[in-house]
Symmetry: C2
Subunit: 164 residues, 2 copies
């Protein structure tokens, strides 16, 4: 579980508890295999996620078509597709909902004037780049601890781990 500084945050890019929990739950399912069902309680236990909170998130994953559920004694959740066909981006999107915004306004609706005119293409570029990574890396990659080389090389740069 993530223990550490309870500092302020929230800047240009932030991954919410919901998104983080959703990905970790999906990874647990990926590790169990496409044909094995896990109960919400077991996932919550394994990843240290509040169980009732997780239930809501798993509901989102189900409605998003990423996960299949079954109730009753032998019930639980399992992945709807092979883990190598589910990018991390999908999980985050389904759990966290529509959420690309500048000041709560969607980019196409922004009007920048004067010297700020080129700001929009910049935001778009950043977003495209983030999506390139999270759309390329799948649950299978992370669960097997085998990230694609280009992603790994980004993370290997020592400067990437420093503060600001």
């Amino acid at each position: 579980m993530g223990t550490g500084a309870a500092v302020m945050d929230n800047l240009s890019m932030r991954i919410s508890a919901r998104a983080d929990y959703a990905v970790r739950a999906a990874l647990e399912l990926a590790a169990a295999g496409e044909d094995t069902s896990l109960k919400a309680e077991a996932i919550a236990e394994a990843q240290g996620i509040p169980h009732k909170f997780l239930e809501g998130i798993l509901g989102d994953l189900r409605r998003g078509g990423l996960v299949i559920s079954q109730r009753g004694g032998k019930g639980g959740y399992r992945l709807a597709r092979p883990a190598d066909s589910i990018p991390i981006a999908d999980v985050i999107r389904v759990a966290d909902g529509p959420l690309v915004s500048v000041r709560g306004v969607r980019p196409p609706d922004l009007s920048y004037i004067g010297p700020a005119e080129s700001l929009l293409p910049l935001w778009i570029a950043v977003r495209a780049n983030v999506r390139k990574i999270l759309g390329e890396v799948t649950l299978a990659h992370v669960a097997a601890a085998k990230l694609p080389d280009d992603v790994l090389s980004l993370a290997d740069d020592p400067e990437a781990w420093t503060n600001p």
Copy 2:
């Protein structure tokens, strides 16, 4: 304005009003030139930013060493350094805090277990990527509407402007 996709859905990437306003104010100063002072009210007017709100943001930029202020009749704000030596990342960080966070915690302070172990390097890679762009593009680039080629090519990909 381009009314392209109505739902610019996607990953949890959000630029706060504070960060957006801070960058736009800095761009206005960049356009004015390093030696020209602009009054907060003038910047607020030019960019359509609530003037009292902007005052607080400019205070942050000053404390962050990006801007120099002068009070009194001929006072105002001006850049502390040449516009081509101030990356957008610096402005956002100073105005809004760290650039990327997971659940309010900065990536290096997270700890993951089980199949989620490789999540940390993934977040680090994403963060490094965001930093690469926003650390490369300066106020001068945006104010002159001349983004670096590699950034421009990312934004030019039509798919970058569409939905999931």
